[in-house]
Every structure is written in C-alpha cells, then in structure tokens.
Symmetry: C3
Subunit: 368 residues, 3 copies
C-alpha cells in the first residue's frame, strides 16, 4: 500500500470515481481503502436462498417482505441442446487473481519513454484449461479466452472460481447468446439463480445457445455480487458467433479498451489499457500482409466512451458509411474489417486523446 | 438544507458538476446553495420583449444593440392543421413541482439492500389532465405522459405552468415533430417567441405536426430560461409518432435513464434513475408473455452517456446488426423490439457499471 | 498568468483534467503551470533519428533496445498520383499561434447576457495561404480551412510550421484519406517518419489520396509530439471527399464542437465552443432559404461526447432512422442534410445541457 496518498491524489489522476454497490453500501472507489472495504463486504455476502434452493433442493426460502416472489421465479428450465447440424463447444475456464504487469517492457514505444514503476498489481482474470481442468492452456490473460461458436451450436462452459485471494463469489455472464435464467450468470440479490453466485472453490457449467440472432462479437464478464470491482480488475473476455460455415478472417484481433482505476491498482497513474496493458509495445502488436482479410473487434471494457481509430485504414461501418474511428460504448463492440492494402507501421488507438496519452495505443505492422 | 456538507461532498458523489447558465451567470451546480442561486436568478428574469410583443401586440421592442433583429424575426406563422385523414390529438398538461420519492419501497431488490433516507426531494414534473384541465388523470409522474400521434396528425398540447414553488417560467419543447418558431417552446433570450416563456399561472397551446419524417420515438422537455436545472429536476416526457395504422407493440415501455444530481436533491448520494426512481423494485417492472411483441424505448435523460442492456434478449439495431446493449446519448432514444420467447426474471440496466450500482436497474418478468 | 488560482479552481469549472503525455511524463493539465511544463518538455524533444534519416539520408540510427526495428520500418514508399480523370488539389497551410478571442461580440445572444472578460488566449490555428505561401487567404481561423477532393483526386498539402511562440514540432494528420507512412503526419517516437515531426520554420508536403472508400467528411489535426495539447488549442480542420461530380449542397457548414480547457486558456470558465467561439452570436450564424439543399457537418473536436441538435428540423440518419439530435464522438463526424422547408430563427446546439449553457450554441436563420 502506498502510504501518504490522500483521496484526492487517487481521484485526481483517475478522473471520476467508480461507484460500486455491494452488501448494502454504495462505495465511491476513490482510494485503496475504499476498495478494501468493498471487498470485505463482498466476502461477507452469503449465498442467496433461492440459489441455494436450486443447488441443494432444500425447502424453499421463507417469505421475504422486501423481495416478494413472482410466479416466474418458480419456473424450471431445461438445458439447451444444439440444433440439428450444430455442435457442443466445450470450454473449461477458471477465474483466479494474479499479479499482473501492466507494462512488461517498461517502455512506451509510441511516445518513446520509460513507464515508471510500480507497474504490477493484483488483477482478476479468466484462464482457459484443457478438458476436465487437466492443465492450463497457456498463462492467464486479460481478456480471457475467446469463445467461438456457429449458429446452431451450444457453448458449454465449465467454470471454476479458483481464487482464494479475494475470497468472494464471481460468475461468467455472456452477452449475445441465448440462455435461461439458470445460465444468466448474474447475481440478482434474493432472486439469484444457481449460475449467479459461484463461491471460491466451486464449479458450475453454463450452457448458452448460438441462436441466429446471436451472430456477432460479444463480451462476457463477471456479474457476481461485486461485479463492478471485479470486472474492472480484468474479469472479461469475448464471444464470437458466426454464421454456419462462415469464413474466419485471416487476421482477427479482439481488443478491450479499458482503464484500471488507481484505487484498484494502488498505482498513482491513470492506466488506459488495451487488453490489460498500457502503451504500444506492451499492448497487442498485430501483424498482417497485403491481401489478407483483416478484422479488429474492439470492446468498451469499462464505464467510459472510447473509440477505435487506426492509422492508414478505413472501412464500411454497419450503417453503410465509411469510417476510420468508431465510438464504442461500455460492454459493446465494433468491428473494423478490410482487405489489407497499405504496408507499413500503423498506430491504433482510442481517439480520446487523454486515453491515448495514458496508454491506449498499439502497433499494427503490415508487410507488403 | 443539509448543513455541514461542503462543496466537495456533493461533487464527490455526483461526479462532474452540472453547468447551468441563467440570468447572465454561469453556475456550476455543485451544492444546494448553487442551485438556490440559479433559481433566484431564474425568478428575476422578465418576459423577453419579443415574446411579450407577440402576446399583447404592443409596439415592437426598442433597438437592442446586442441582439439585432433579422428579417426572419419579423415573420408571422399560422397554426398547422392535420393532413387529410389525420386527426387533432389534444392533451392538457401541467408543469408543477412536487415532493418526489426516488425509492418508494426503500429497497434495492437487485442488490438486496435497504436504500437509506433521505429519499425525497422537490422535483418538477409534467402531469396530464382531462379536457379543459377539468381533473388530473392520475398522479404526476417522471417522466410526463407519452404523447401519441400518427403521420398526418397534429398534436395540440394545452400547457399550463401550475407551479408556485420555484416561481419561474418553463415550457414544453418537443423533439421530432415539426413546429413553427411560435411553437418551438424554447427560450431564446431577446429572440424568444410566445411559446418560449410560460410564466407561473400562464397557459399556452402548442401545435406540433406529425410529418412523415417525424416517425419515431422522441423526448420533450423544458426549454425555458432555466432549462438545465428544471429538466434535471424531472421536466421531460416522450412522444411517439407511428405510421398511419401501424400496429402498437403488445407491450411498450418508455424508459428515461437519468441522474438526479446531489446539488438538486440535497441527498448526498449519486441517484442514477430510471423514470425518476432508483433500483429494481422502484423503477418500472415490465411484464410480458411468450409470443408478445415487446418494445422498450430508452432515452438518455441527462448529460451522460448511458446504454440500454437487458438480460436474456437481443434484437436487430437500426443498422442491421444484432445487439443486446445500445448506447443512448443525451435526449436521444433507442428502441429494442422483439417477439418474446424467453420466460423468467430478467434485469434491464445501464451498462455503465457505476450507474447500474447507483440504481439504474429494473425488472422484466416474462411468463411462459 | 492569473495568480491566486489554485488547482481546484481550474479543475472545478472544467470538469475532468486533460491528460497529456509528452517527453516521458504524463501530465494532468489541471492548471496553467501544468501546461507550461508540458510545453517545456515538448520544446526539448529532438527530431527522432528515423525521421531524420529519411530527411537527410545519413546512416541509419543505432540499435535501440527499447524500440527494435521491424522489417516494415525499412520500407520505402512512393508519392501517389491522381487516378485517371482525377486532379491534384493543392493547398498551402501554415500552423501558427495567435491571440484568439472566444467571444468577439462579448455577448451570449441565446441566454441574453454579457460574456465576461478575459476572453482572449494564445491559441494555435491552421491558416490557408495562396500558392507558394505568397499571401494569406484571409485571417487564421479555428477550425482551419476545409480541404476538398473528389474520388480519384490527390490532395497535395504544403504545410509550414510557422510558429515561434510555442517552439515545438507540429503536423497535419488526416482522417479518411489514404496515405503511406511518410504522409501519416503522426509522431511515433523512435518510429516517426518524415511527416511526423515538422519543427518550427520547416515545411513538408503531404500527399493524400481520395480513394473510393474515403467518401465522407473527416477531420485533420495535429499529431505531433504534443498532440493532445496543441489539438485542444485549435489545430484541427475538415476534409470533404465527394463522389466524382457529386452535387455540393447549396448551404454547407462544418462545425467543430469542442472545449477550450481552463488550464490552456488561463480563463477561469468552462468554454464549450463551436469553431473556437462560445455562444450564439459569436459562433457561426448559418443562413439558408426555403427550398435549398442544406448540410451541417458536425465534428467532435475534443475528448467529450457531444450531440448535434437543431431546432425545427429532422433528417434521416445513415442507419435509416429519423433523428434531430445525433451523438458525435471524439474526432468523428455526423452529417445532417435536408431540403429546407421551415423558415424562422432556429438554435443549433449540443444537447449535453452543461455544454449548451457554457456556449455550445449557434443560430440558423431561414428565410421564406
């Protein structure tokens, strides 16, 4: 903990404070003490009775004057199967906290300067494992693995809360795909269903459908009782649903534009990140060759407005206009796709200049 | 007045201060004293000479060196009539301040906790009355009544400023529909026309046309001399213009996502609201059944970016892409519409997580 | 320098501070001292070796451990020529600082009040000159001149950094048009190419292509080593690329919605501007007649979300919906175009009400 940093010091460099509501209190996350308090509350939250009832099949919860049950809360749901011709796509994913270096090279190549220490903090990430959680598939990352499906498929995601550091329930909540309330992966207070509260050490299998209207590029993220804090710590990833048999781009990149708040990192700087890292050289360097079909999918991964801008290129937006700089809102995505024709070194960045200067940049290298 | 709350206390929980320009001063609305000063200025503003001239037909105003008149300022305008086959749709609407409870149940069902007192402040709302202001049609609400028309119709809105508490002129300014300058409902300083300054106790009838390019879902709101403050107090509502004979959705909901600033409410919390209320259980609980045609129309009702996200559903955006989370800017709207096929309890919310945690949430209950 | 203004005074009226990264330091531009420090750093930045190498053809730069060269950094590029039937469109443009009055009339006609002094600060602007920099074509302005081309043309822009006041390198970086890395006009640290660092007193000729997918309305702006600060000082302008032979609108207006930060202006007010000016009467007054083809192109010129709203009109957005209020993100544009049919005096403004109140307004006068 950095001593001697007052509230304003943290707020000042990070802009407006995050607001987090947890365990009956609304906390403005202005400094590390606020975050510690929110985490303490989160650890004290017990499994909602409704979710427990579904899990262990005990007697239904007692009447709750503040949370009257509706007929829809008594519904039961099956587990969806693939459509004819579709497949089950299985993933094993663990949520775990880890020491995360926001700038492994220690250098900002775009602005050509050193990035001062400290650069490491305790983040929270989704990590992919092989079948049956036999072995991790590579290191944990921010964002988590990309889940892929085609229309008619079912995503079966075996999720494990493997974290012991923060000691609180987390989940996986998907966008875009279809799910029943049991697989929503969202804490709803007294109305929480089984998938919405996965305590440390527990596992849960989510089943999500790739319906025809799920075609697109979507985020998933934590939606447990401490969602705001844990999502901002790195618990997010991407889902792509394609038409059956659709061609993958030759080069396909998924970028989250998001900030790590000073109150969370205990680092007294505004860290505007791409995929958990700050500044070209640390963020993804994407490579392509002239003639390739190239796609950049960019997500807003925090509470701010960002834009995806890349030098030397333009593309047709969904509304038919040409663009080289598309706004992207919180937990939405935009896709830029083109046939490559412009060799050289190019910068991609958020066009909020304060974000660009605080690290939201990366390289795109095109060979002839 | 809450004593002992300094400026930073209010600014801190509410984020950036509202800026309000009124009566020759720009005021950052950081605390209740600022708001009181702005209101005092607003009460001192006299009816602009131009608006008075149109009202009472006295001699034209004297030459004003700062505000030279243009030829267009001397134009006269008629009152539009419906197109062949169209109708006059009449409404009687009063603006009046009222004590407003932001959380009547005192409970946040999404996060399952009590919402502390104080929860009530003096808001400003539009209220619908029966013909000739004979009797109120239900209680005053935030937002005000939804005005409906079809292409070719004319909306005739009898407006009364029935407020004595704030003691200042207010108006109704519509989006989307066509109007002449007299029915613009906007204060323009020395260029204000009759509909732009409705003093306490006065009435004015606005006439607005539902032209073919007015099809859509639009806001209306105060645009008097103290617009910023009074709109943020609750003076807004919705207009829907449909194609002639268009089918109404089976379930149609109009949601304003907006904050009540601490300086306005004198409540030391960031109140992120849906339709003037915070948190699921207080905000609208929307009900539908499988098979119904369901539409959610969401407006940005303040100065911030919001998004409309709802669990378990996705829909086709106007640009042809599928979405489950659409950004919505200040005083714009987005429409999400689908045929219901997914029973259960679902949360809708703004995906700015700080807004979600501060109350911008609600329930959507779908029966099989 | 206004003495006695503490950090909070500047931050308070301007909202969140700009973040600027320059010369190895990240600076939150909260007050004039921060800006002076950023400028001092910017003046100390030497021409990157790679850019120098391209310019003077000396031996290649020594190995740089932090900035390893990639094969793409060794590529050479030609200078594009027009397509068959296309033309070379030549412009001579100088960047120079100047004393800039944000409100020449001293009056806000929309709110009918005086705008207090001080109203002048040292801005940075692009100014158009006649062929060979023979003579300036009118006064310097914010935004800079609009560059026009049709598909198949080449824009040849002779750029001169004519500023001696700030003493630092600036550039012109275009959106939308196609360019090779040499004509990107962007500082990339050690990877900077010739067009990315134009020191005081230097000239450089950019060549940009109007490809078929460059059709649209685009910004250009500084992208030198102190981009954030100098763009926010006024170094931006517009580019329009039309289909070959496309008809120009009868009335065509290019509006930048942007703030001048108090730390930059040393003026203790939040100046929300249109084209460098605050408040109707100082910002562009646009005139048209019934029957004319009218286009408003609006750009976001800073780090904030703005919207373009105009009274009495609506138009079809690119996605096919009707709108009267379109959000516009940082360095993106939206176009509103209609056949005029509604005479009178109309206000255009940003619908972020705090921005409207702080000056982001203007008049549109329509004659019958």
């Amino acid at each position: 903990m950095n001593r001697g940093l007052d509230r304003r010091a943290f707020l000042g460099v990070g802009g407006a404070a995050l607001i987090c509501t947890i365990g009956g209190k609304t906390v403005a996350l202005r400094n590390p003490e606020d975050v510690a308090a929110a985490d303490a509350y989160a650890r004290s939250i017990e499994r909602p009775a409704a979710a427990a009832a579904q899990k262990a099949k005990p007697k239904p919860p007692a009447t709750d004057v503040h949370n009257p049950k509706d007929a829809v809360d008594g519904l039961s749901f099956g587990t969806p199967q693939p459509q004819p011709g579709g497949q089950v796509r299985e993933y094993w994913i663990e949520a775990k906290s880890l020491a995360w270096d926001v700038a492994p090279t220690g250098w900002d190549q775009f602005m050509d300067h050193a990035i001062p220490k400290p650069r490491t903090f305790r983040a929270f990430a989704y990590r992919q494992w092989s079948e049956g959680f036999a072995a991790p598939l590579g290191p944990a990352g921010i964002p988590g693995p990309t889940l892929e499906a085609e229309v008619g498929d079912v995503l079966r995601v075996h999720f494990r809360n493997g974290d012991e550091s923060f000691g609180q329930a987390v989940t996986m909540h998907p966008h875009g795909v279809r799910y029943t309330p049991d697989y929503d992966g969202a804490y709803y207070g007294a109305y929480t269903r089984v998938g919405g509260f996965i305590a440390p050490g527990e596992e849960f299998t989510y089943t999500w459908e790739a319906t025809p209207d799920a075609v697109g590029v979507w985020p998933y993220h934590d939606h447990g009782p401490n969602e705001t804090l844990n999502t901002h710590r790195g618990l997010f990833g991407s889902i792509v649903v394609r038409e059956r048999g659709a061609r993958r781009p030759d080069v396909e990149t998924f970028l989250f534009f998001h900030a790590f708040a000073p109150s969370i990192t205990k680092i007294r700087r505004n860290l505007q990140c791409v995929n958990g890292r700050v500044a070209a050289g640390n963020t993804p360097t994407v490579r392509a060759k002239v003639g390739q079909d190239v796609a950049f999918h960019t997500f807003g991964g925090d509470d701010m407005l960002h834009t995806f801008h890349i030098h030397g290129h333009r593309w047709r937006a969904a509304d038919g206009t040409f663009t080289d700089n598309q706004p992207v809102g919180p937990m939405t995505s935009v896709t830029a796709r083109w046939t490559e024709d412009n060799p050289g070194r190019w910068l991609y960045h958020c066009h909020v200049l304060s974000h660009m200067d605080a690290g939201m940049t990366g390289w795109y290298l095109v060979e002839p």
